[in-house]
């Protein structure tokens, strides 16, 4: 199917280059996806009600989810994202290539059985190819990076599990931190839902309440980005611009979100 002239093809090629954000935000999207799944957020009702996944696969995916939350904590997450940003554009256009790095952070995105496939450079093979031994290989990423505190991950996988070691106090503190993180995620989801429902003031109330209670939350960048969106929806242009400036000032390293705050406003 060919038929476009050279000028048109050149435009399409430049257009593709301009869409590198797809890879730039991949790490952020994965972390947010896992958080939303963890809090049990239901899927959008895109047609009829979807049947629930089987218990076995739910369990396997929870394990993946927990390990992946782990893989995207703090500095490890930023580092992974920056590495993606540093890749050549031609690499970034290939989804598998962006995740095919050999470092621990990216490797932790992959299932156990992924290493042989990557080594064979067949990560882009059609997913319809039969799996060698699927049922016997739980989809849990390999060794987590040291900086990501595996203890927390285990609890995220089983939120109600009771610690049974002498490190009770430390475990309790971690449990409390997890609970706070989950509350943050729930709040952001409610704010996002309010925006989708056309209720920017409700979103702002939620977000500002959160900013008062937890100014330094790990999710402060996401929260402040939503504030900009809510102010725009509420037709408070001057406040939105001020919030966008504050965002750039307060979260200068939130590269992917900075891009959203700036470019999301380019209009359609």
């Amino acid at each position: 199917m060919n038929g476009l002239g050279n000028d048109a093809r050149a435009v399409l090629a430049r257009h593709r280059e301009a869409l590198d954000d797809a890879e730039l935000g991949a790490a952020h999207n994965w972390a947010m996806l896992v958080r939303r799944i963890e809090r049990g957020e239901p899927p959008l009702d895109i047609d009829d009600a979807p049947p629930a996944a089987s218990r076995r696969n739910v369990a396997a995916r929870w394990s993946v989810a927990a390990a992946l939350v782990l893989a995207f904590g703090g500095a490890a997450y930023l580092s992974a994202r920056n590495e993606i940003a540093d890749r050549r554009p031609d690499e970034r256009h290939t989804g598998a290539a962006a995740y095919g790095a050999d470092d621990g952070e990216h490797a932790s995105l992959l299932a156990d059985d992924e290493a042989p496939r990557r080594a064979g450079k067949t990560a882009r093979k059609p997913p319809s190819a039969p799996q060698a031994a699927p049922a016997a290989t739980p989809a849990i990423p390999p060794q987590a990076p040291a900086s990501t505190e595996p203890r927390d991950s285990a609890k995220l996988a089983r939120p109600h599990a009771r610690p049974a070691t002498r490190a009770q106090a430390r475990d309790d503190a971690a449990t409390s931190a997890n609970a706070e993180a989950m509350a943050d995620v729930r709040l952001l989801a409610r704010a996002r839902a309010a925006l989708r429902d056309g209720k920017p003031q409700a979103a702002l109330d939620l977000l500002r309440g959160h900013a008062r209670r937890s100014p330094n939350s790990q999710l402060a960048p996401e929260r402040d980005m939503l504030v900009v969106a809510a102010l725009c929806d509420a037709n408070r242009s001057a406040d939105a611009r001020a919030a966008a400036s504050a965002f750039r000032r307060n979260h200068p390293t939130a590269h992917h979100l900075l891009a959203h705050v700036a470019r999301a406003c380019d209009g359609r």
Binding site: H15, A26, N29, L44, D47, C232, A243, R268
Partner: protein
């Protein structure tokens, strides 16, 4: 001896596998389906929440990419219902005026992106699906036909019409550019 196994063929596919291999495709599809950049990330997560819930239902009768595209279309459609709000929102917080001028290559890329995006927004849904899958995702006619559930002749017809319009849009853009650079 049983001829039919009790396990579906894709039972070992994890959410991580699907996300790693296809998130970029889903991201681009959502963007090309008309979502503002500021919503694409949220919508992408929504697509994969559906995937997480429904991965067991994927039986390999179509390619995974086609299955994902079907989900992305429906999620995009949900988002577009609130598009007026978003469009108003996204125009407000413009990039800072003191921003350094873009390098010529970057400027050309953004211009091209804007042109393609505007073109896709103006195109009707049927032609847009075909154009973006064929021209932007590199699918062949059979793959597009399978993804959209229409016959191959229809794919060719829609693609011809979409290409014609795109050529005209590019020609108009080039002519305007020449006029501006002369004047």
């Amino acid at each position: 001896m049983t001829l039919v196994t009790s396990e579906p063929p894709f039972v070992g596919l994890s959410l991580g596998d699907v996300f790693r291999d296809h998130q970029a495709f889903v991201w681009r599809s959502l963007y090309h389906l008309g979502l503002p950049r500021g919503q694409v990330d949220d919508a992408l997560q929504d697509v994969f929440i559906v995937v997480h819930r429904r991965l067991d239902e994927f039986d390999g009768r179509t390619t995974l990419r086609n299955w994902l595209y079907g989900i992305a279309r429906r999620v995009a459609s949900q988002y577009r219902r609130g598009a007026e709000r978003s469009a108003a929102r996204l125009r407000i917080v413009a990039p800072p005026p003191e921003r350094t001028p873009l390098a010529p290559e970057e400027s050309a890329r953004l211009e091209a992106a804007e042109l393609v995006r505007h073109f896709l927004d103006e195109l009707d849904d049927d032609k847009r699906d075909v154009f973006l899958l064929a021209e932007l995702e590199g699918m062949n006619a059979n793959e597009v036909s399978e993804a959209l559930g229409v016959n191959v002749n229809t794919v060719y017809a829609r693609l011809r019409a979409a290409r014609l319009r795109f050529e005209k849009a590019v020609a108009r853009h080039t002519a305007r550019h020449r006029r501006e650079s002369r004047g």
